[in-house]
Amino acid sequence: MSTPRTIIEKIWDEHVVRRQAGEPDLLYIDLHLVHEVTSPQAFESLRLNGRKVRRPDLTLATVDHNVPTSDRSLPNPDPLSTTQIDTMRMNCKEFGVPLWDIFDLRQGIVHIISPEHGLTQPGMTIVCGDSHTSTHGAFGSLAFGIGTSEVEHVLATQTLPQSTPKTLAVEVTGTLQHGVTAKDIALAVIRQIGVDGGIGSVIEYRGEAIRNLSMEGRMTVCNMTIEGGARAGLVAPDETTFAYLRGREFAPKGEAWERAIEHWKALATDEGATFDRTVTLRGEEIEPHVTWGTTPAQSVGITGAVPRPEDAATSSARETAERSLKYMDLKAGTPIQDIAIDRVFIGSCTNGRIEDLRAAAGMIGGRKVASTVQAMVVPGSGPVKVQAEAEGLDVIFKDAGFDWREPGCSMCLGMNPDILLPGERCASTSNRNFEGRQGAGGRTHLVSPEMAAAAAIAGHFVDVRSWSA
């Protein structure tokens, strides 16, 4: 019998085009997702070198990072982003790449649109010039973010040279408490391993708490893999995965579906396969999390307080914590529930899917957004927006005083007009609380959609486990 392998090794081995001692493996890429911000220089270089896109039929482009989320029948207020969007259109036309453009119903955040159309499938290699490409790992695919030089490389060759990663098993056991979500798992994992704990590794998320997540929840967990330093994270496909994919536009049909399922089932990590490292968390112990600092590892449970820098394990962690508290304008010892907020952002590739919007809307219970808070909801894609409107979620949000917007990355990174003003404090369902991420001088606290919606109403953080909607 052959040596037991992890799912990571199995997918890897299936995609090796060329292996040579002393060189990285050359891996075939099954799907390349492209967006307007990290691709212009790659296309330009192809043009300068007289090269073509090798497989436009394994490539899909959209515009998401800097599109306005306001009324799209009006002119784009930002001439620079207009140029970038126009460049995307021109490049797609010239190189024959399909583009889901701004007025296409299918437009949306690149990591939301591919799964929702069934294009992201188990066992694939998927790349995109965006670090949150790890999202697609939820389906049991090996998916990772790349830089613009690599975008060019994939466009020209449909391959990437890659050095073999280490394997890291992250096991979340048990059952989550009511009110605790996939986002809280992600924050708890990063808090435990640190923002650099996953460097050089690919993570397989395992355990009962992961198995019990919906596909959308798994996407949330895999999405934030990069915030723990690992380039890719995945979950082995199972009945939840197959049920999600069945009948979606790009999923195999009929006899092909049966063959696909057989192949996908065989991807799971073999009994006896070993990981370079294993980390275990107890699901029932995870609280709703809130970040207090400027790295995604700087988080604490909702019943906790802002920690004291002097309690940090190393001098470097202490200095980082001191800088974070200064930037965040927080005092050590302040109970998290006493922190008042000015803004709420619900959306992003982390938490901009339909289940996230349902969960957030479910917290409102006829109440209004606090008078001191400005709150916005940005659906992750056109289909998410249409579905939410069919369910009346937009009305629930609007009646409560939330702003209901058009799809895009929006205030997750503030490349469009949706930004925080200096000093504003935001409860955000996005993935990064870096300094200035949501706007220069803005202060970000990462939370789940439930926590964000409840905070919008209360005006400060609250424990959603005891919140009645």
Binding site: L26, D104, D130, S131, I146, G147, R231, R323, G436
Partner: protein, 208 residues
């Protein structure tokens, strides 16, 4: 890609951990469609503080950047590498790097050198005391040294990255030598894998 054999000069001591690529190049500068000219926007928000290290004239034009752990974490934006390169830096020395940042560096010819924390502490303290103090990063011999002191440390580098650095070889050109192997792989590829041809289907208009 730029050919790099050796980098000699003074170093900018950026004594901070977990410096993310949002700090190296904030999002408002990602809207440019060119590859050059990012240097003046490097560390844009931090540079507003006159005491920030890159504002110190004595480090202007230094070819080496010293940083702390997990340098270049976060977003995949290669613009961060272009910005550092455009500042005149050719080598970055740190205890660890963000994976995507490090790969991006290897594609454009920015040398990343990983050294143990105690060596970083030594170099950092020295660069703070002696702003003009020279450091030599030698790619061929895989060593970092401080001339005249006898201090020298070996460093690990991926052999293929080293080969490309020493020869200034472009990755795409190298891979295109194996275009036949790619074709053979494609011929045997699983027919169940999806393609995006149906994505060309005439778009449903949005909104409504």
């Amino acid at each position: 890609m730029k050919q790099v054999e050796q980098v000699t000069g003074n170093a900018i001591p950026l004594n901070r951990a977990d410096v993310d690529t949002d700090q190296i190049i904030p999002k408002q500068f990602l809207k440019r469609i060119e590859r050059s000219g990012f240097g003046e926007f490097a560390f844009f928000d931090w540079k507003k503080d006159p005491a920030f290290i890159t504002n110190d004239e004595r480090y202007k034009g230094a070819p080496i950047l010293l940083a702390q752990q997990n340098f270049g974490c976060g977003s995949s934006r290669e613009h961060a590498v272009w910005a550092i390169e455009d500042m005149g830096v050719t080598a970055v020395i740190a205890p660890s790097f963000g994976d995507i940042f490090r790969t991006n560096c290897s594609k454009v010819g920015l040398v990343t050198v990983q050294l143990p924390q105690e060596d970083i502490d030594f170099l950092m303290a020295r660069a703070e005391e002696l702003p003009g103090g020279q450091i030599v990063v030698d790619v061929a011999t895989q060593s970092v040294s401080v001339p005249g002191t006898g201090w020298s440390r070996p460093f690990e580098i991926d052999p293929f990255v080293k080969y490309r650095l020493l020869n200034g070889l472009d990755d795409v050109g190298l891979t295109l030598q194996y275009v036949d192997a790619i074709g053979e792989f494609e011929a045997k590829r699983d027919d169940l894998k999806p393609n995006t041809e149906a994505a060309f289907k005439s778009p449903a208009k949005y909104p409504g």
